[in-house]
């Protein structure tokens, strides 16, 4: 029996191969490709993890001169991790309300001929290289925000974020967070938009028929339906913000420190920026320290994602 099917063959002649073999070639090939692709991604992930482990673990305990003046690995990584989280959370605070509002505008408020171009432009934002965002933040947005910095330190100094001498060039964590927010906005917006648009029409009409305004309909029907999708969207945005390097590295002049103050000249340095700025002039010991901080970032993002999934799953079970 031949497995390779001859399209010209009379189907009546070889009924056995008709039943058992014909057409299965495509299945075998496709199944093979699917399995290989799925395996490959797991292997790649494992390889990254193993690389980080092997190269990074020595970095936990090298001579203390390699810890950028912080004395020990913990002394270095804790402020870095803090800064990474701080910058990402600041970016989320700016980006999430905008993203949800834009997504709602596209899915439920705007007429279609406006919604489609708006959605397209937002998606295009995701295609802008992060170097360009960094440059824009440092050269354009930073100087533009200098008066804002001054205003914040004058009027909102009772908040620890703004209590101090404002930066004269606007290249601060404040500016960097806004740039980061712009960078994570497309992913959050497009996922929210997709889940909002999938709200069952039946639920929307249930709310409208009760005399709900459009906003009430959104609260009654769209948000409850989209909640877990919105959490995933925010977590993906958070993931991108945690790992983002260029925007922060290019905009701020960082120091390894823990501080809430975000509009000064000295800004907390994130892990990604620390690696990007340090790895070129590094000795092997210094390099393994940097890789070790990368390992911490990897583990941390992994934890954040696991936590997000747990939240989403718990929301569904209710």
């Amino acid at each position: 029996m031949t497995v390779a099917a001859d399209p010209g063959a009379d189907p009546g002649v070889d009924t056995k191969s008709e039943l058992s073999g014909r057409g299965s070639m495509g299945d075998v090939v496709f199944r093979g490709i699917a399995v290989i692709a799925a395996t490959l991604i797991m292997v790649a992930l494992a390889a990254v993890f193993i690389f980080l482990g092997i190269e990074g673990i020595p970095g936990f305990s090298v001579d203390e001169q390699h810890y950028a003046g912080q004395g020990s690995f913990l002394g270095l990584v804790v402020p870095l991790l803090y800064a990474t989280m701080y910058a990402a959370v600041l970016a989320l605070i700016v980006a999430v309300p905008f993203s949800v509002a834009i997504a709602l505008f596209i899915s439920h408020y705007a007429p279609r001929r406006i919604a489609t171009p708006v959605a397209y432009v937002i998606d295009l934002l995701a295609a802008v290289p992060s170097v360009v965002f960094g440059l824009w933040g440092a050269v354009v947005l930073g100087p533009y925000l200098v008066p804002t910095h001054a205003w914040l330190s004058e009027n909102l100094a009772w908040l620890p974020f703004f209590d101090g001498q404002p930066s004269g060039n606007g290249r601060t964590l404040f500016t960097a967070s806004i740039v980061l927010a712009v960078m994570i906005l497309p992913i959050i917006t497009s996922i929210c938009r997709e889940v909002f648009a999938q709200t069952p029409r039946l639920h929307e009409e249930a709310a409208l028929a009760l005399g709900a305004t459009r906003w009430e309909m959104v609260r009654y029907a769209v948000f409850p339906y989209a909640r877990s999708g919105m959490v995933s969207a925010v977590m993906l945005g958070l993931g991108r913000a945690l790992g983002e390097t260029m925007a922060i590295a290019m905009i701020v002049s960082p120091k390894v420190l823990i501080s809430l103050f975000i509009i000064g000249t000295n800004n907390p340095e994130t892990i990604a920026a620390h690696i990007a700025q340090g790895y070129k002039e590094s000795t092997p010991d210094r390099l393994s320290v940097l890789i070790a901080t990368g390992l911490v970032l990897f583990a941390f993002t992994f934890l954040v994602n696991a936590l997000a999934r747990w939240i989403v799953a718990r929301g569904r079970a209710k």
Binding site: P111, R112, P200, L202, H203, E205, A206, A207, L208, A209, L210, G211, A212, T213, E216, Y220, A221, P224, Y225, K318
Partner: protein, 257 residues
């Protein structure tokens, strides 16, 4: 609350779905719309609470007034119309994340109204009693509405609709997704509700129209691709015994549709 409909045509963009309907719906009675699929009876029903225009491009021409007030008048808020004219849909649609209790109160809590707990309790009880559901759910009001059976969910939706005390209740094939026993429960309920509400029901089931309604309107298409129109509107008894129009008789006796 009588409903007067005059020369009303209904459009989806350029497509005219229903043409020139004129009818007068009596208060505190049950009016049924029957007709083959796609003849515009559901579309017409949805114009009575301005739900039709929720679909992009859809609009209505003509005049529809409820209790003497033109519901398509220039200063009329569709949201206010929908509070006066409740609606029950083909498939039960309780809010999936809400408990039975919150589902019933959903309409009352709109427009940021604050209700006292005792008042809320009594609204929930009377609405659920009104929908013949109280005895079945009174011990599990905090459970999700989606946990009920299909027929119970539909009665929950009726309770939700009557909790805001509308004047008119529209039902769009409320039994088409239900089994015969649940259907009988809903039909009994319709009989009870008509002492308080003006009820308009769309149904595919002619026996159901004959059982529950006082007046019946028969919608039909003139031809495929043509808009639907109202063929005949008469008391149900007359419609099912000696209709004026031969098309009505043909449809009711099962010769087409």
């Amino acid at each position: 609350m009588s409903i007067q409909v005059k020369d009303t045509s209904i459009f989806y963009g350029d497509f005219k779905a229903v043409e020139d309907v004129t009818m007068s719906i009596k208060p505190k009675s049950v009016t049924a719309f029957i007709g083959p699929s796609g003849c515009g009876k559901s579309t017409f029903l949805r114009t009575l609470n301005r739900m039709h225009e929720v679909i992009p491009g859809a609009y209505v021409e003509g005049k529809i007034s409820i209790h003497g007030q033109d519901i398509y008048g220039p200063n009329v808020d569709p949201v206010a119309v929908r509070r006066k004219v409740g609606m029950v849909f083909q498939r039960p649609n309780p809010f999936p994340t809400m408990s039975i209790y919150d589902n019933v109160l959903a309409g009352n809590k709109l427009n940021s109204k604050r209700i006292k707990k005792s008042e809320a309790d009594s609204i929930v009880e009377s609405a659920l009693r009104g929908a013949n559901l109280w005895n079945e759910v009174k011990d599990r009001l905090s459970k999700p509405g989606m946990g009920l059976s299909g027929g119970q969910q539909q009665r929950l939706c009726i309770a939700r609709a009557i909790a805001v005390q509308p004047e008119v209740l529209l039902m769009d094939e409320p039994c088409s997704a239900l089994d015969p026993i649940s259907t009988a429960a809903i039909e009994d309920l319709i009989h009870e509700l008509k002492s308080d509400y003006t009820i308009v029901i769309v149904t595919h089931n002619m026996q159901q129209a004959a059982r529950v309604s006082d007046d019946t309107g028969f919608f039909n298409l003139k031809a495929a691709g043509q808009p639907g129109h109202l063929v005949e509107f008469n008391p149900t008894k007359q419609m099912f015994t000696k209709p004026d129009n031969p098309d009505t008789e043909a449809y009711i006796s099962g010769r087409f549709g």
